[in-house]
């Protein structure tokens, strides 16, 4: 009875293998995801609070919530919700570009945070990586070959979408570069002309001034 339990415990520890970082109580951490349109993004997080007496991170923090806010490239809020100490948020992009995912804890009670550190494990999956294949296999009743073919198709579709988006961005990039080039040329010409005109004006004005003052 003890050994399987120990194995499961080891499995739990192995499951906690994601990237993590520390944030303070009122601190907000934001991540930028540049994604094409109609792409689903799934984020998973898990929080642990620092226990000052035992000097360890507690395995879970009941009562603590995290507020997740997602903004689209135009700055409009796509998702703004509060989740528990462990949660999963999903959103689908409707415009291509930089989406900003911000997390901050909702703790207002100073007591919960004495010591001020919260460990957040975060994992963000974009597009094809966000699919849960075991679930899809069960739902559509697929054989192994069908499931693997489906996964490959999803992967290729994601790469193609990203490539289309790359093409759109490269076009924008090219337009900006060409516009900058044009502007450098026109401004230089305009400045040279203005310089010449100002010089001519100065000379004529001063000449008529000196003539009026009977110096010349």
């Amino acid at each position: 009875m003890g050994l399987p339990a120990l194995l499961l415990l080891a499995l739990c520890a192995a499951g906690a293998r994601g990237l993590y970082f520390h944030i303070g109580e009122t601190e907000k951490r934001c991540f930028i995801e540049e994604i094409p349109d109609e792409t689903m993004v799934i984020g998973n997080y898990r929080t642990q609070m620092w226990d000052k007496q035992k000097e360890v991170f507690l395995p879970s923090t009941p009562g603590l919530g995290m507020h997740v806010e997602v903004k689209d490239p135009e700055g409009k809020v796509v998702l703004s919700r509060q989740y528990g100490s462990e949660g999963r948020f999903t959103f689908t992009s409707h415009t291509p570009g930089d989406h900003q995912i911000c997390l901050h804890s909702n703790s207002t009670k100073m007591a919960l945070f004495a010591g001020g550190r919260l460990r957040v494990h975060l994992n963000i999956q974009v597009g094809g990586h966000a699919n849960n294949y075991p679930e899809i296999a069960a739902k559509d009743k697929l054989t192994e070959l069908q499931l693997r073919a489906r996964q490959l198709l999803d992967q290729v579709e994601q790469i193609q979408k990203e490539q289309d988006y790359q093409r759109y961005r490269e076009e924008r990039f090219r337009l900006t570069s060409e516009s900058t080039n044009q502007r450098v040329l026109w401004w230089s010409i305009a400045q040279t002309i203005i310089l010449i005109l100002t010089g001519i004006w100065q000379m004529r004005h001063l000449k008529s001034f000196f003539e009026a003052k009977k110096l010349v």
Partner: protein, 226 residues
């Protein structure tokens, strides 16, 4: 003795929650993040690793004056493995021991400009977790009819999958490069506009001042003579 009896049950529950397919938190092997690092701050990330796995970290500064950042990678014991200063991009691969590796991006040398930093973690040889994620056998229904050739087909599918993953990785890299170049160009554009207008205004103002100062010189002398 009594403690041993109640321990397995919640552990079983917790273990069940962490199996793939359930609503638990299953981290993946590769991840990339893009974030903004304000001026004068330092941010650290931690990655737990098993023994003899390989950790590859690649970072790039996408935006921010100077496009450079300090990078620091420390082993679980706190020993510094990599320390780079004012670099705009970097790649590091290390063979790992058990523990949490820490890597930090340091923008304290900059007082006004915030940096946008992209980093990608590629983990290999992570051990039992790799098998866990690929073991779909318990979730499928039915069998495929071609028993003998199935293994060959599966092998070629696996190879296609790994090549597509590589394409995906390269795309992520290209995306980061393009984002950086685009940011540079956009700031060039803004700079050209701004300084051209400033230049124009300065020229006109200076020429007017020159003329009026010259005129005022002569007018004062006239007055002092009479």
């Amino acid at each position: 003795m009594g403690g041993e009896i109640w321990l397995p049950f919640p552990v079983v529950l917790l273990g069940a929650l962490l199996l793939p397919g359930a609503a638990g938190f299953t981290p993946s092997l590769d991840s990339d993040f893009t974030f903004t690092l304000p001026a004068g701050q330092k941010e650290c990330f931690y990655q737990p690793m098993p023994l003899k796995a390989s950790l590859e970290i690649e970072y790039q500064v996408l935006d921010g004056a100077g496009l450079d950042i300090d990078f620091h990678l420390a082993s679980p014991e706190g020993r510094t493995l990599v320390f780079e200063q004012r670099k705009s991009d970097g790649v590091h691969t290390i063979e790992t021991e058990v523990g949490d590796y820490m890597f930090c991006f340091d923008n304290t040398f900059s007082t006004i400009s915030e940096k946008v930093i992209f980093f990608e973690l590629i983990l290999d040889n992570m051990g039992e977790q790799e098998q866990e994620q690929e073991d779909w056998k318990k979730y499928i229904t039915g069998t495929d009819m071609l028993d003998m050739k199935l293994e060959d087909i599966l092998e070629s599918i696996n190879s296609i999958k790994s090549r597509l993953s590589k394409s995906g990785h390269i795309q992520t890299l290209l995306r980061a490069f393009e984002a950086r170049d685009r940011n540079i160009q956009e700031s060039n554009f803004d700079r050209v506009n701004f300084w051209s207008v400033v230049n124009l205004v300065v020229m006109v103002v200076v020429s007017a001042i020159q003329v009026y100062m010259l005129k005022s010189l002569f007018e004062d002398k006239r007055k002092s003579r009479t």
